[in-house]
Symmetry: C2
Subunit: 314 residues, 2 copies
Amino acid sequence: MGKKCVGIDVGGTSVKIGIFETTGELLHKWEVGTRTEENGRYILDDVSASILETLKKLSLSLDEIKGIGMGVPGPVMPDGYVEVCVNLGWRDLYPGRELSSRLDGIPVLCGNDANVAALGEMWQGGGKGYEDIVMVTLGTGVGGGVILGEKIIAGKHGLAGEIGHIHIRDEETEHCNCGGVGCVEQIASATGIAREARRKMASTDIPSVLRQFGDDVTAKEVLDGAKAGDELAKSVIDIVGHYLGLTLAQITMVIDPEVFVIGGGVSKAGQYLIDEIFRHYDRFTPISKSKSKIVLATLGNDAGIYGAARLILD
Amino acid sequence: MGKKCVGIDVGGTSVKIGIFETTGELLHKWEVGTRTEENGRYILDDVSASILETLKKLSLSLDEIKGIGMGVPGPVMPDGYVEVCVNLGWRDLYPGRELSSRLDGIPVLCGNDANVAALGEMWQGGGKGYEDIVMVTLGTGVGGGVILGEKIIAGKHGLAGEIGHIHIRDEETEHCNCGGVGCVEQIASATGIAREARRKMASTDIPSVLRQFGDDVTAKEVLDGAKAGDELAKSVIDIVGHYLGLTLAQITMVIDPEVFVIGGGVSKAGQYLIDEIFRHYDRFTPISKSKSKIVLATLGNDAGIYGAARLILD
């Protein structure tokens, strides 16, 4: 029996944990709640206890585990140092060392959760079979991760893969959470898509199925409407596709990946969304007939545990 | 005596060649003309003959040379294959293998010239001491090169580092050479800066030292004028700084390098230009207080031979 590995995805509400074969097969996964009180000081105690308990339940011993990877919601320095994870209350710690010391010194490596999710999609998801991928996660915000040569590119200041905060729209006037104006996230996140729809409804008289929802319109309703042929919804998705296609074209001129993997809640719109993005991407890359592929993520919320487990396999 | 290495930079007019210590010291450099006739079939004969002759003159033997690197003006596949180098007439060849076969089978590695120049600036130029750099060359066009972990990132389709063809200006209507519209190169190259100045002169009545040059105004005159306080020239450089700063900010959100190295003829404007770029870069990266550095390239036209020599040292 080959060695196994463990992937941990630490979120603000729950910690997802998975046990994997080193070949990538997910054997068992579960969750524990995230205790954020007292600056999150109990989180790693809870995680280590839960891992030991689960291994016992599965009749596995710790020495059958090659190592543990952990994705955390904040920047992680190359030596594993975490200055701050706002959502967890963590400040000024080495979570990998901390967890390792609670588990007999087993190797533990940490990475930023968005980067780690990208690694997971490269390993066993939409980017399987590729070495160079860029993942773009379209959720409440827009996140990203860059993998080159099967390695996470974290950047000198932890900013690599911050696709959502590429400034893309000069005429925007509202501010983004990052302090900037005109970020990708302001257009292509779920909240961004809904806002674009509200703007379109307010600025035109075009009849639309979206008008029944008024200011409560959601990204899903916009995408469903566009797929059903609603003109106003289609015009909103055209804007979203334009800016996402342009963003991917810009990324291509920097690192030219083999494939872009699109994930997050918005990507549930499926191939329709991919086609819309590609149409614009193609337009913004006249320089080459050979194009990067654009595909859907396939691991959903499990991308983080897959990628975390993969961290330990280098 | 340690082994030496040779760097070759093949251009459309001349081939630059340098002999280096593996520690980075340039021992000797020279040039041979580029014979582009008959699809450039004599170029590698000329280069190999010149190298053998020069080694002899310097009382060096081929077995004191660890290997040879060569930068060529076109995309190079990971296996060394070159589909086309328009400026040389080359099509469908492996220039590294060809050169090696003319020089007793000595190891020869090839790379794209812009990428190789970036590697040279990392090794012994403005990016010395850094592992992750992005070079931006502001010349007749705008080129670039991305180095991560001391390695060239060439991209899946050879497009990595094509900084000049990032689409950056939506309101542009003229086409770029690449077939796109609104590329960085259309604004920040020497020709782009001159064009911006012509536009500004035509669209305003602002008095300016540039008006004496009329449509023959050059980028150098614009930069000199701006440094001397000429309002119109300053407004042109403000546009250039805006779009270059924005471009570097976008690159930061993808790979977050340690340093940007600015080279090419336009960079002769010196620290003034760097400060203008940084001012806008800072504005477009509110997400982080830690910023990548922006510095001047220092190797000038020798960056290519330095980088080519460095290619062979991995």
